[in-house]
Subunit: 207 residues, 4 copies
DNA sequence: CATGAATGAGACTTCATTCAT
DNA sequence: GATGAATGAAGTCTCATTCAT
């Protein structure tokens, strides 16, 4: 009947529902970024989204579910945004340089999402107090990085080193960069990214 | 007759001011580390410390003051613990290797304090929602690192690079290391520290 | 099975905003009148109104706002009740006699409101401790009285005297009358009012 | 042994004790006058008196006892201060004029005590919520006034009227005067007192 | 589908009072 | 006698969640 890739009669309900979810998630991100986790009450989120408080329970099963949805939506969006801009066929050092530049730009374009994600990762808990988003949250990224590093080692552009430690270090450098760029808007993101790439690739020891 | 569910109503000991403050701060650190910021209510903290809720206001002006006290006490303790173990007269690369090893060991010996400090840094806010512990919280560390790096450049053991970017990267690598070591107790801290030192000093590019 | 000590958990009715506000204000008045300012906690007020504690914050911004609402609602109601019963076209002495009678009756019909208003006026404070309802609270009444007195002087039914002092004295006599009538229910309000009118109009000096 | 009216070896403990009580009572009066009943916590009172919190329980059985002591000490002091200045052998109208002048001056010299007394009278309660200082608190004054008025009627300087109503009115006029003088320091107390005396003695009706 | 009135648990805080020192 | 550390009850207030409309 209809081509599923561009349905001419897509169920409006569905669309409106996704719209609403996005709207609430966006409001949650803004609240989290501006006031931190504790102040991000559902009352404030609903108010900012311009919907009634009760509506949140139509689209999410509760606060925890909303927060988890925010986290996964944000993480996915960020990952896709970067991946889509990289040419993975280039030599690995070049890929790393490009990736750092792209990430640095994120701090400018998507600051709120990054901050919100951090808050949720640190604060969202199970009822017993244990974290809901473990650091394995980074696990996917780590693995992707390791694949990249090993390709570099195979193609001879990278020397031999522990790829897991480097993946963690790489992620840590990025987090620190993002935090610093957000706190210091006067610093040029791309220049910082280039310096960081140089440090990671060449080390700091002389000779 | 005896109610096993409630402690036998401690006999109201009178402690020195410093001792009590430390006791309450210690309880706060444990609560923060185990349950995160939101769960760390003063009710729970007092209960864990084995004192009445009201006593907290005898020693701190309120929750924010307690949290700030926890943060500064913890930060000071950590800094001193590391500084006292370093021999700063050695060549800079050796200092860096030693420092990373010491820090790595922290994740084993003082995990709770590190986690608590992180939670407070991320969540403690002014009444208007703005963060109370800005990232300048790291500023002192950054400066100290930069001094070290410049000495290395002067003595010829380090090449020329942007010391500020490196200081930030260094701190970020450490935070990532600590998080990873805490999530993965099976990883050997000192071995990780050595690998990290090698990466930072030599870079990852071949030849 | 049924617990006689707690009401059968009212079925959560939904009321119009004005109705609920009035209900809560009425409960506050009763609590204030019966137990004074300190005992009039929001817990007790909510319990008496038969609503949950939290609902009070739905209709008032807090305790102070509730108390101020009680005060202004009460003051308005009282003023209107008296004004509507007076014929201001009569000679001033007759107006005064009639007014005093009406006010005296208030002590019978609206004792609780009067007491509540007094408590709020004496106890409601700004955060710094300064009174929230200044005696200028009476200012409107004073001015109205003075207008009346001056008309009496113009029409020749009253002699020349300081109208401000008389307005204050008049109000003070009324407050004292109300307090006395409330403490002594055996005294006849109208008879007292008539005696008071005679005193104020004729003085007590012989000849 | 010793003349009790001027004991040469009066027990020093006693004296110190009275001193302390007065000191605490004075602090309570100041707190009550400045911040009202609710803010007058024993912590604040002790701090203002410059003694430790616990000491209050050495001299008073608790907060209520302290407040009652404040009230009775204050009432006694005020009454004596006025009585000692009056010449009761003069014609009653003159006594009234003089008394009103003295009372008016009180509002300047002893404002705090008057305010404190009012606060206690309005707020001090029995555990069940019933007032602790009934309006009979005024009863002694009323009776004294009535005696005075009846003497005036006997000596022919006052006409015939209900002395109880007049006593209440007299007291009410005074309370209103004091409140007004306190709120309006620019008003001259003696002038107000004279106007009030004229009103009460001569009434306001013309001819 | 959507609203927001209503609830109840739990948070922070204050304060009269007790008691070890 | 005097102190102030310590307690426990009660108060104001917030917030996730439910439910009548």
């Amino acid at each position: 009947m209809a081509d599923p890739s561009s349905p001419p009669a897509a169920p409006r309900r569905r669309l409106a529902e996704d719209e609403r979810r996005r709207q609430i998630i966006a409001a949650a991100i803004e609240e989290l970024a501006e006031g931190g986790y504790e102040r991000a009450s559902l009352t404030r989120i609903a108010a900012r989204a311009g919907v009634s408080k009760g509506l949140i329970w139509h689209y999410f099963s509760g606060k925890d579910d909303l927060m988890e949805s925010v986290a996964s939506a944000t993480a996915t969006a960020i990952r896709e945004r970067i991946a889509s801009r990289l040419d993975l066929t280039e030599p690995v050092p070049a890929v790393i340089r490009a990736a750092l530049r792209h990430v640095a730009r994120l701090s400018v374009d998507h600051r709120a999402e990054l901050v919100a994600l951090t808050h949720i990762a640190h604060n969202l808990r199970h009822p017993d107090g244990s974290p809901r988003l473990t650091p394995d949250h980074y696990e996917a990224s780590y693995r992707a990085q390791e694949v990249l590093f090993r390709r570099g080692q195979a193609e001879g552009t990278l020397r031999d080193f522990d790829t897991r430690v480097m993946a963690i270090t790489y992620q840590g450098s990025i987090d620190a960069m993002l935090a610093h760029l957000q706190a210091h808007p006067e610093v040029d993101p791309e220049s910082y990214a280039d310096q960081l790439a140089e440090l990671l690739l060449d080390g700091i020891k002389s000779a």
